[in-house]
Amino acid sequence: MQGLGPHAIFILAAYGVTFAAVTGLALAILADDRKQRLLLADLERKGIRRRSAGAAKTAKPARRPRP
């Protein structure tokens, strides 16, 4: 604090706010990226395919059970 002069609190607050805002943003973006990857992996496990990925790859819907 002494090394940064009489306005050290303002300097430290500026760097602190910057660090907190950037860290919060990075964590939010990484969490969103991870969430979308997990959702995509889950859908692929269920055999769901995008139309653009090819109709042939689309999993057949399960047959209705016979009465």
């Binding site: 090394g3 940064l4 002069g5 009489p6 306005h7 050290a8 303002f10 300097i11 607050a13 500026a14 760097y15 706010v17 910057t18 805002a21 950037v22 919060g24 943003l25 990075a26 939010a28 973006i29 990484l30 969103d32 990226d33 969430k35 979308q36 990857r37 959702l39 995509l40 859908l43 692929e44 269920k46 769901i48 395919r49 995008r50 139309r51 653009s52 689309t58 999993a59 819907p61 399960a62 209705r64």
Partner: protein, 245 residues
Amino acid sequence: MPSLANPTRFLDLAGRAIPWLTALTVVLFGAGLYLAFFVAPPDYQQGDTVRIMFVHVPAAWLALFGYMLIAAASLGTLIWRHPLADVAAKAAAPIGATFTFIALVTGSLWGKPMWGTYWVWDARLTSMLVLFLLYLGLIALWQAIEEPGRAGRAAAILALVGAINIPIIKFSVDWWNTLHQPASVVRLGGPTIDPSMLAPLVVMALAFTLLFVLLHLIAMRAEILRRRVRAMQLTQVEQAALVEA
């Protein structure tokens, strides 16, 4: 460039670039912070308070850069209707908003000891606040409309209308009598800052720019995946409806 415009190709390239960008960003931030705190001298008038410049100025530059990126991408959305343009614009908005927030707060913290006040309604500060509100408006618009194509076109129009604020921010210190100082780095006659302070500023600006690019790539990847998930969920619903029928 055409290969980059393919979302699948983009995901592949982003996946390869992200680890290198992360390492480079960390190294540049380490060097920049060392230069900012241990090499750059105190200013003869402002003392150590000038060290706030090393986060304030890059954040302000990137706040403007982020919006210009969104405006350029908006043209891509409206003219060529390319899905990656909309993805790029949407992914840049929260990052630009965060850098604008940082510029506003650090500027305020710099203003109190130097100007004697945290805030004045002068042209530069007010136009930066308008930029922050524009970012929030864009984010809200993307959240409010569920269909990505419609949301993208509506946001593109708003972004292009709001782009008028960019030259206002840049030239506000020349057009009006403001408390904020005029440009001292990006100006016609060259920088007026002493090299001992310019060097740390340039390194920090590079570090912040790489951070912006890195976060933007990850956010774009997440947005592409979100759209794939949405498309697959719609397919899932259609398949379930077929089974029911």
